[in-house]
Symmetry: C2
Subunit: 386 residues, 2 copies
C-alpha cells in the first residue's frame, strides 16, 4: 500500500487515505467481547472495534514515513467525523476538513481511520457494514476531491459475474444508479451505502484492484458524464433468494399488510413482492422473496397466516435465484423486457416472478437455470462486445 | 476485576477505574511497528499503543455491565487528559472532570484508559513508564477522591524484599517521601512518577494485591497522617548498580564536570557520586555508579577521560550492589548511620561508597554481601517486630 501511495504522491497528487482494520481483527475482538458479555453493549463494542483502524492508520503512516513519504494519521474523532448516535450503524453528519487541509498543505499524506466517527457528545461510533468505503467517500466529498478510489480484491465492475460468464467485460464507466441497482441485486463489489453517498455528493468513485500495478478499474460517476451509454450495463444475480407464495387469498383491502406484517415483525426482510389475480374470482395470489437464511422461519409464519386468512395453500421454494438486467438505457428503449422474456423462453427457462424498476428488470427462476440465464442474456444483449 | 469493582460499588462508593493494556499487547504492537519502520515515529507509536488501553476499557465496561453494574468507558482524549507534546513520555497538564462527574452522577462506574492523553492540539500521547499508575493518581487528584488504590501483583510495601528476608513486614502506612526514596532505590512496587504526583497533590495512595479478596495493602500518605513513626521504615536494595572510579585525578575546579559530561552525553544516567581526597596531595579520587547495562560503555568512556585528564587509573566493578536504609525518623535521630556502619562492620562487609540524604543512607557493597547486609540491618533495626 505504501508503495502505491508514494507513487501517486510523487506524481504531484495530494492524498488522503482511509483504511480499514487488518483482516481477522474485527472477528478476534468480537470474540473477546462475547467472552465478557452475553450481548455486548453497542457503545462499548464501538470503543473496542475502532481500535482496529487505529492500529492500521499508525502502521500505514509509519510505512509511508519509512518509504520517504511524510505522513500523519488521524482517528475519526481527531478529524471530527461527526455521526449520529446509532452505535454500530452510525451515519456521518459532517467532517471538519480544517485539520486535514493543514496537514496536506504541509506536504503530508493524511491517513484517516475508516469505519469510525464520534457523535455530537464525543462518544465513539462505527458506521457499520461498508463503513470504510463510506468514510472514504465522505472524505472525498468534504474535501471536494478529484476522485475517490476504492481498492478491493476485484479490478473493476463487470457486465456480469466472470465466474459464470467468462466473456464478462470490465466496464470503463457505470452510473451511480446502475451501480446502486447492481449492489442491491447482489453484486458484492461495493457496499450500497458508499454508492448512495457518492451519488448524493457527486463524488467520482473508482473501483480498482489492490493487487495490480497501475490499475484502471471502473469509474462510477453521474449519468451525464458517461459519453457512450449502453442499452444494458450489466446482469446481476443473487442466489440467496427464496420464494414464498400464498395461493387463493380473499382479495380484500389490507391483505398485503396482513400477510407481510407478521413477516417483518419477525425481523425478516422482504425483497420482491408480487400480487396477481387468481383464476377464481375474488381470490388473489400473493408471492414474495426473502433471504434464503430466513426461509424456514418465513415459511412457518406464512402457514399460520394462511390458516388465519382462510387462503387455499402455501407454495414455498428455496431453490430459486434472481437474475436482473440493469441499464439506464432502458428508460428510453421499450422492448427490453420483451427481449429478456424471449431469450429466457427460448432456453425453456420458466419465469416465476417479475419485478421492474426504471432501470432494472428482475426475474425469479429455478436456481438450476441461473448460469444458463445469465450467459444467454449476456450474449443476447451483446455485453461481451463492450 | 469486575467482581472487585462491583463489591466496592455496592458498598455505596462512587468509582473511577483506570486500566492498562492486556499483558503482552504493548510488545506485540511494538513488534508490528518495527516490521514497517526501522525507527518508529514517536507520534504514530502513541496512536498505535493507546489502542491497548482502549481495548481493555471497553472489555471492562462490558464485564461490569454483565455483572449488573452500570459502567461507561472513556479514552484519554474523551475525558480531556491534556498533556504536553512529548510523545512516549508526556506529562499530564490537566484533566476535565466534567464528563466523569456527570457519568458518576448517573450511577455509572467510569472506566478510563490509563497511560494516555492528548496534547493541546489533539494529538494522541502516552505517558511512558508507569503511565497507568500516573493516570489513576491524576484522576484521583482532579476528582479529589478519598483514596487512589493501585492494584498490583504484591500485597503492599514491605520493610524489605521478602525474597531476601522472610521476616519482612508489610507496612500499614508509609510517607510519600519514604516511598519516593524506596522507588528510586529499586523497590519495584510503584513507579516513581505516580508517587511524585500523589505527593504533589496529596492523594492518599493505597497499594493492594489484585489476587487477594478484601486486601488491606499499604497506605502511602503524607507524613503528618502517620501516627506512629518508625525510626527506619524499610531497607531497599538494588543489584543493578555498577561502580566506576577514577583514581588520582588532579584536584582542580570543574573536574566533576569534565568526568561526568562525556558520560551523560552518552545518555548514561549516573546514580551515586562521591569525590574524596586522595592520600597524595593535590589529587582526588572520583567515583560514581551507573546501571549495570551501561557499565561497558561507561568504562570505555572513563578510560579515555583518564588519559585526557592525566589521572592515575580507572577502577571499575560491576559486581556491586546498593543497600539503603529509609526512614523519616532519621531526621530527628542521630546515630543511625553509625549504627548501620557498625552492623555491616560486624558482618565483615566492606563499604565501598556512601551517600546520604535527609531520610536515607545508601551504601555500595560487594554484591555477594547483598543478602547478608539486608538481613542483618533488618534485624538490627528491629523491623521484623513492626
Amino acid at each position: 500500500m505504501a508503495k502505491k501511495i508514494k507513487a501517486f504522491k510523487d506524481k504531484g497528487n495530494q492524498l488522503v487515505v482511509s483504511v480499514s482494520a487488518m483482516s481477522g481483527e474485527t472477528n478476534r475482538m468480537s470474540a473477546l467481547a462475547l467472552e465478557v458479555q452475553d450481548s455486548p453493549s453497542l457503545r462499548e463494542m464501538d470503543v473496542l472495534l475502532t481500535t482496529g483502524e487505529q492500529v492500521t492508520i499508525s502502521l500505514l503512516a509509519m510505512a509511508l514515513q519509512q518509504s520517504g513519504c511524510d505522513a500523519i494519521s488521524y482517528t475519526g474523532a481527531q478529524v471530527r467525523i461527526i455521526t449520529d448516535s446509532e452505535h454500530g450503524k452510525a451515519r456521518i453528519k459532517s467532517i471538519d476538513d480544517h485539520r486535514i487541509r493543514r496537514s496536506l498543505a504541509e506536504g503530508k499524506v493524511v491517513v484517516v481511520a475508516g469505519f469510525q466517527g464520534v457523535d455530537e457528545d464525543g462518544h465513539i461510533t462505527t458506521l457499520g457494514r461498508g463503513g470504510s468505503d463510506t468514510t472514504a467517500v465522505a472524505l472525498a466529498a468534504a474535501l471536494k476531491a478529484d476522485e475517490c478510489q476504492i481498492y478491493t480484491d476485484v479490478d473493476g465492475v463487470y457486465t456480469t459475474d466472470p465466474r459464470i460468464e467468462p466473456n464478462a467485460q470490465k466496464m470503463e464507466t457505470v452510473s451511480y444508479e446502475e451501480m446502486l441497482e447492481m449492489s442491491s441485486l447482489g453484486s458484492k463489489v461495493l457496499q450500497i451505502r458508499s454508492v448512495e453517498f457518492a451519488s448524493k455528493y457527486q463524488v467520482p468513485l473508482r473501483v480498482l484492484s489492490s493487487m495490480i500495478d497501475n490499475p484502471v478499474g471502473t469509474l462510477i460517476t453521474s449519468e451525464e458524464n458517461i459519453v457512450e451509454r449502453a442499452l444494458i450495463s450489466g446482469i446481476a444475480h443473487n442466489q440467496d433468494e427464496a420464494k414464498l407464495s400464498l395461493i387463493g387469498v380473499p382479495d380484500e383491502p389490507g391483505i398485503a399488510y396482513k400477510i407481510l406484517n407478521p413477516i417483518s415483525r419477525a425481523n425478516i426482510e422482504v425483497d420482491m413482492i408480487v400480487q396477481s389475480v387468481s383464476a377464481r374470482e375474488g381470490l388473489t395470489n400473493f408471492a414474495f422473496t426473502v433471504h434464503r437464511r430466513d426461509f424456514d422461519k418465513a415459511n412457518s409464519i406464512l402457514h399460520s397466516v394462511c390458516e388465519k386468512l382462510g387462503a387455499k395453500a402455501v407454495q414455498s421454494d428455496n431453490q430459486t435465484a434472481k437474475v436482473s438486467l440493469v441499464g439506464i438505457g432502458m428508460r428510453s428503449h421499450a422492448g427490453i423486457a420483451a427481449k429478456m422474456f424471449e431469450v429466457l423462453h427460448k432456453e425453456n427457462i420458466n419465469i416465476q416472478m417479475i419485478a421492474t424498476s426504471e432501470i432494472k428488470i428482475s426475474v425469479i427462476v429455478d436456481e438450476k437455470y441461473l448460469e444458463l440465464a445469465v450467459r444467454s442474456l449476456h450474449k443476447a444483449f451483446e455485453l461481451e462486445q463492450k
